[in-house]
């Protein structure tokens, strides 16, 4: 299964050098990847339908417990099929949509990256791998949302989306690691067995809270929902892909995946019901006031995600069955509607439903696709949406007595809103009279209108023959979420009962709302007045606050004066060290244990003090630099006396080079001008003296502490056995802690590049003048 993830990643990176080729007719090769992957997953359907889970284990960083563990069960399979299946449609569609675009190659590189990240996310069986792919989806969606990078709005939306989902990612990581540590395993399939241990742990509420923040930010749940409408700035193929089947469903996937691990508690269910309930009603009502097609779809998507969260919260067997079906229902009709919107936008250059009408005359096949999708979204009998809606009502009606009525009411209100929103997006632009300016509108490429038509048709095929999805994978999806056999059977006809009446009533009221609701600019303005108290505004002002804080912080702490940095660093170190010393109590010095002084040691210390005196009193920079290096050499000699040759050698060479560097720099500075005030000199002297005293005290304290030799013993014993060396210092550098050394060399390289470019760059700008 690793290859399914790697194919996209590798092709994505190949598009960097070979982008030019893919812009030509060879772009037909692009959809081959999602098709192949789709067929691969389709081939696994019978295997998974038997209840077998396909597993793969590849060590990555085994010592840290991070491995490529992949597992394909009903839930992963449903998502993998959606990602690759809808991905195929999007690849065909996007190829025509962006034909001739300057960044055509870049677009598909991002899209492939995103697809692979999503696949990795749903296939991962290790929570750390899952997290890596989770973050990768945030990052790749950032590029996709901000694809029109010359538009300020688009860039802002991309940053908002990244900061919200990225922030959620932090919380998620914390939650996952906590859960993994408590359960003592990072393997998701092993976590299922630890459900009782996790749920009874005192940290359980914290874990659930952290995981929820991760899922809610990603799946645009209230109050984090506002990044999603903003993300509509992306090209339409991206919106269709990200918001129908993938990105936003990742949060739902996470919740579903962890339901058997963390679920079935009051905390889990109530929170999900409340958050999902608020989101679905809030967004469904909001959708009715929008005039932009994509905005309507954005809010109805948020509402649908709310329904999914809500259903997971209800958590009964029926609710879980409803979840597994509704994921598919929504993906099919929402992807279609988005693609239809894209076609309308592409051909008429507007998405305003108050301006669009009568397009059925010119875009007939597109209208059929839109109509089928809108009807499925409305839950017309025989559509797949009808089955989905039935299951939702069944789930709410069969909940605990006292609450059933309330939950059903919420579900009905939401669905009424969704019916109307679906009609607004799928039917409104096509009905009525065709305005003159749209008479020239013509059908786009076949590859743009066939994919939505197929997806929309599937919405009815699955509706008429529900056994196709029900028996093969939705059943296993529900089993995977519930963690037990749900015994699910999808039927086209449930008999004449309350559920059917509710379903038909929803459809009727929804149609009425659609007919009487006339969204207009004025209404939109009115509702936007409420924005002042919206979570978006609160988040934004929070962001502004961080900005203001960073300005203050930068001006006061990071003021760019080296001397001020030194002072602060040293003062801070003094405070910490002094506090630690004070905690340790009085220091006693055992003069008996000290080695006697030899004459050469005394001599060196005398030179050292002399050099120090010169450094402090001299009026010349060069003299002070040279005296400082004398101090350095004296210390080298002390290292030699106390048998640390490696240290002495390094210090000696470094000291030499530093002096050279100083001389080179100081040579170019103006002559020494004594502009320092007396008070500052005294302050610096006090700080310096204090530092010296504290360090000396620490040195004395170290002598007094019992000698711990585990570490040096370890190296002493293993240096030849493990690293085949005899010089402990060097083997630590190149073997035991080699990774550290590697990154240190990288830091050095960056420093060198920094100096090089700073100096060269300055030269160039002066040349320009």
């Amino acid at each position: 299964m690793l290859f399914t993830v790697l194919t996209g990643l590798i092709t994505s990176s190949l598009l960097v050098p070979f982008g030019k080729i893919i812009k030509t007719k060879w772009s037909i090769l692009l959809p081959v990847i999602p098709i192949t992957l789709f067929l691969f997953f389709l081939w696994h359907v019978p295997v998974v339908a038997n209840g077998t889970n396909v597993m793969q284990h590849l060590p990555w960083v085994p010592t840290l417990g991070v491995n490529f563990d992949f597992r394909l069960d009903g839930l992963s399979l449903l998502f993998a099929l959606l990602i690759t299946g809808i991905g195929t449609a999007i690849f065909f569609y996007g190829r025509s949509y962006l034909k001739g675009h300057v960044y055509f190659d870049r677009f598909f590189a991002y899209l492939l990256l995103f697809m692979s990240a999503m696949l990795g996310l749903v296939l991962a069986n290790n929570i750390l791998t899952l997290f890596v792919f989770w973050e990768l989806t945030s990052i790749s969606s950032f590029f996709l949302i901000g694809f029109n990078n010359d538009s300020k709005e688009s860039r802002k939306s991309a940053i908002t989306a990244l900061s919200i989902t990225g922030l959620g990612g932090f919380f998620l990581l914390a939650g996952l690691v906590l859960a993994g540590n408590i359960a003592n395993t990072f393997i998701i399939s092993e976590l299922f067995a630890q459900h009782d241990k996790l749920v009874s742990h005192p940290l359980y509420p914290l874990i659930v809270g952290l995981v929820f923040i991760g899922a809610f930010t990603k799946s645009a749940q209230f109050p984090f929902h506002f990044w999603l409408p903003g993300a509509m700035k992306a090209p339409t193929p991206v919106s269709a892909y990200l918001h129908s089947a993938t990105m936003v469903k990742a949060g739902i996937y996470l919740l579903a995946r962890f339901t058997p691990v963390l679920g079935s508690t009051d905390l889990w269910n109530t929170t999900l019901m409340v958050v999902g309930g608020v989101t679905m009603v809030y967004a469904a009502i909001h959708a009715l006031f929008r005039t932009d097609l994509k905005s309507i779809l954005a809010y109805s998507t948020i509402s649908a995600l709310g329904i999914l969260t809500f259903l997971l919260g209800v958590g009964t067997r029926e609710a879980i069955i409803a979840t597994s079906v509704f994921i598919l229902v929504h993906a099919l009709y929402k992807a279609t509607l988005f693609m239809v919107t894209g076609i309308i936008d592409h051909e008429t250059h507007t998405r305003d439903i108050t301006k669009l009408s009568g397009l059925r005359n010119v875009l007939m096949p597109v209208f059929i696709a839109a109509l089928l999708a809108a009807l499925s979204s409305a839950g017309l009998p025989l559509s797949f949406g009808f089955i989905g809606k039935d299951l939702i009502y069944e789930a709410t009606l069969h909940y605990e007595e006292n609450w059933a009525l309330w939950l059903t009411t919420l579900a009905v209100i939401t669905n009424v809103g969704l019916v109307a929103a679906g009609f607004m997006a799928g039917i409104k632009p096509f009905t009525g009279k065709l305005p003159q300016k749209f008479e020239q509108v013509h059908l786009p490429y076949k590859s743009m209108w066939i994919p939505p038509l197929i997806l929309a048709a599937l919405g009815f095929i699955f509706g008429i023959f529900p056994g196709i999805t029900g028996d093969y994978f939705n059943h296993q999806t529900a089993n995977a979420i519930a963690g037990e056999n749900t015994d699910m059977q999808l039927k086209i006809w449930h008999g004449f009962n309350t559920v059917l009446i509710l379903s038909l009533a929803t459809l009727a009221i929804g149609t009425v709302v659609y007919l009487f609701n006339k969204p207009s600019e004025a209404k939109l303005k009115a509702i936007e007045r409420l924005n002042k108290i919206s979570p978006e505004r609160i988040m934004m002002s929070f962001g502004q606050g961080i900005k203001r804080f960073s300005v203050l912080y930068t001006n006061n702490i990071h003021n760019g004066y080296l001397r001020s940095y030194h002072l602060k660093i040293i003062l801070f170190a003094e405070l910490l060290l002094a506090y630690k010393l004070w905690l340790g109590g009085p220091i006693q010095i055992d003069y008996e244990n000290l080695t006697p002084l030899s004459w050469y040691e005394v001599g060196i210390v005398a030179i050292l003090i002399g050099a120090l005196y010169i450094v402090v009193t001299t009026k010349s920079r060069l003299t002070s630099v040279v005296s400082t290096s004398v101090i350095g050499y004296c210390i080298c000699l002390l290292f030699v006396f106390y048998s640390a040759p490696d240290l002495a050698m390094t210090q000696f060479t470094i000291d030499t080079l530093t002096t050279v560097l100083f001389v080179l720099v100081l040579y170019k500075l103006p002559p020494f001008i004594n502009f320092v005030r007396r008070e500052i000199l005294i302050r610096d002297a006090i700080v310096a003296l204090l530092f010296g005293i504290i360090i000396s005290l620490i040195a004395l304290r170290v002598l007094y502490e019992p000698n711990k030799t585990e570490i040096s013993d370890f190296y002493g014993e293993n240096v030849y056995l493990l690293a085949k060396g005899k010089n402990v210092v060097n083997t630590i550098l190149v073997d035991f802690r080699g990774i550290d050394t590697m990154f240190e060399t990288v830091v050095l390289a960056i420093a060198a590049l920094g100096v090089y470019s700073l100096i060269k760059l300055r030269l160039k700008s002066s040349e320009k003048e």
């Binding site: 490696d646 080179l664 080699g738 050394t741 990288v746 420093a751």
Partner: protein, 136 residues
């Protein structure tokens, strides 16, 4: 700073110091020394030469910009760190030849790692010092 004594001295000191730096690099695994110190000594050799003969002349003997040593060094480091992956071992595992090679002694991936450090250090030090020295 033109001094005949220094110029004559560096003519002999440069090769000797370079040889010494290489000696330090090779013996690092068993005795005091190593890539870092070796690199610093080699840099000092060039710095000394530049003091005596001018930085432009030192750049001439170097032929290539010292900056180019950095990527080469980093590449050697990366290769020696990831080479064990080809043998199915975790990265950074020490690989060693079975038999020692005359004069040099035992050869292992640690030596290449040290050579990488050595080159990066020379590249970094000379880039920083020479860029500043040549900046008028």
């Amino acid at each position: 700073m033109k001094s005949a004594i220094l110029q004559t001295a560096t003519r002999y000191l440069l090769p000797i110091l370079l040889l010494f730096s290489f000696f330090l690099l090779l013996r690092g695994h068993y005795y005091p020394g190593g890539g870092f110190v070796g690199g610093l000594v080699a840099s000092i050799a060039f710095v000394l030469h530049s003091f005596a003969n001018g930085t432009e002349n030192t750049m001439k003997i170097l032929r290539y910009k010292p900056l180019s040593l950095i990527p080469i060094g980093l590449a050697i480091l990366t290769v020696s760190a990831t080479l064990p992956l080809l043998f199915g071992l975790p990265p950074m595992t020490g690989l060693w030849l079975e038999e020692p090679i005359p004069v040099i002694g035992m050869i292992g991936s640690a030596l290449f790692f040290d050579i990488g450090v050595y080159l990066v250090v020379i590249g970094v030090v000379l880039t920083i010092l020479f860029t500043i020295a040549l900046n008028d």
